[in-house]
Amino acid sequence: MMLRPAPPESNLVERSEILDSVGMARVLRRVAFEIVERNGQDAYFVGIRTGGALLAERMVKLLVEGGEKRPDLGAIDITLYRDDVFHGLPKPEIGPTELKKSIDGRVVVLIDDVLNTGRTVRAGMDVLLDYGRPRLIQLAVLVDRGRRELPIQPDFVGVRLQTTAEHSVRVMLSERGETDRVVLRERSGS
């Protein structure tokens, strides 16, 4: 989820495929197991809506398929916590925040699809703190494209990329009716 309005789709041309569907599954599985390896069964997977929440669901499924115990899963919506609500975005949709089990004293792993400026993660941490007091918050992302604007670093990374403002990283997911892949796109004519 990006905090700044994305450049209009029509101006973007695909530069390269970062991950295909096989690659995405492999990376997700690796990250999921790294999380369990480091935290044991205590990790509480919490995805940031909408992309991060879908990835969190997938990771949990991959862990169960891999013989692990099903970890707790939740989702948060950060719309009401954004720092740019009033800066020119279309009226956003607000999805429900679902944290069925308390996060108090837990190790919460925030999961998002793309880490860019860090502002989404900042908002995500604020949401969590309004719901309880986790013992530890960690961050897992599928793609870290750099360009941070806040002192936030991921604990688990699928793919690291060097990008510029002209780039757009797009995560396509079958849950949204697309073929699983991650592509790097660039503004045409730039």
Partner: protein, 314 residues
């Protein structure tokens, strides 16, 4: 996350000029905000730094409180400017009050006023977004929105339902806003009450008018009782509250004429024993307290939409 939400108004003055799509947008947002009331920290930072002035120039405790809580839950700074503390009683005009408030740069002004059209007048003199919290006998849009939200939650839909609004239709801004909203959302609306409380030409708003309650209740999905507004001189329109209660009040016997699963609503405050009997008001089909809970969420949705600086949008 693009413009799935259709809401392009700077102010919320009434339901008459909203589309069904816009009403649905607010209802959907309101559903999302309901959950915040169940958190341990009932507050989100969305409107941090925004100032909401509650300009209440007519006594009202519950609507003002509801707006106050809504603003606080969105982290806005709320200031109350009520009739008792205002200078309107000292002869200052509404326009003077408005321009003075405007000089303090509020982002949203919520106005309750005894006279129709005053929120519109306010919009012509201030830069802030204006929310009508009830103007005379004209409109009370957030009440209609919370009523629609309640109906939708209990009935799963609004389209095709038969809604009966009973009582003092003439003096009721709640009735007008509900008629506008429910008609747009596809409900059949009946109004019922003594003929002396049904305004001339009410049928032109697309409703059926009944001068007895019983035939109006037959087959109803929703029964909305209105308050007898004795303070608006409704008293002269019928002999006394005793006869009113006997002929037009909602009791269990009359409610039995509606559908078995019909819900009972009331915008409050109730005159128990006049327009509604205690057994019905507190009975299993009453959703009156749910209306109140939804009032906060709906007002949060409205403040959210208007506080989002719509001038920056699109």
């Amino acid at each position: 996350m693009t413009g799935a939400h259709a809401f392009s108004h700077k102010h919320l003055l009434g339901m008459e000029h909203l589309s069904a799509e816009e009403i649905t947008t607010i209802l959907d947002l309101g559903e999302n905000f309901l959950e915040i009331a169940n958190r341990s920290i009932k507050k989100v930072p969305t409107l941090r730094g925004k100032t909401v002035i509650n300009l209440f120039l007519e006594p009202s405790t519950r609507t003002r409180t509801s707006f106050e809580i809504a603003a606080k839950r969105l982290s806005a700074d709320g200031v109350n400017f009520t009739a008792a503390s205002s200078s309107t009683t000292k002869g200052e005009t509404l326009i003077d009050t408005a321009t003075n408030l405007d000089a303090m740069s509020p982002d949203i002004v919520v106005i309750r006023h005894a006279q129709a059209g005053s929120p519109l007048l306010l919009t012509k003199h201030i830069k802030a977004a204006v929310v009508n919290a009830g103007d005379g006998q004209h409109e009370h849009p957030t009440q209609a929105l919370l009523d629609a939200s309640t109906i939708r939650a209990h009935k799963g839909k609004i389209e095709g339902l038969t809604v009966v609004i009973c009582g003092d239709i003439d003096h009721s801004r709640v009735a007008r806003s509900n008629i506008f909203a429910l008609r747009k959302l596809g409900a059949r609306v009946r109004v019922a009450g003594p003929r002396s409380l049904l305004p001339l030409g009410i049928e032109s708003l697309g409703v059926e008018a009944f001068d007895r309650v019983e035939p109006a209740l037959e087959g109803a999905d929703v029964v909305m009782m209105l308050r007898i507004q004795l303070e608006r001189k409704a008293g002269g329109r019928f002999p006394n509250t005793r006869e009113y209660a006997r002929l037009f009040g909602l009791n269990a016997r009359r409610l039995a004429l509606a559908k078995p699963d019909a819900i009972v609503m009331h915008p409050g405050p109730m005159n128990r024993g006049v327009e509604i009997s205690p057994e019905v008001a507190d009975g299993p089909r009453s959703v009156i307290l749910d209306q109140v809970a939804r009032g906060v969420a709906i007002r949060m949705a409205v403040l959210y939409l208007l506080g989002g600086g719509s001038d920056a949008v699109e």
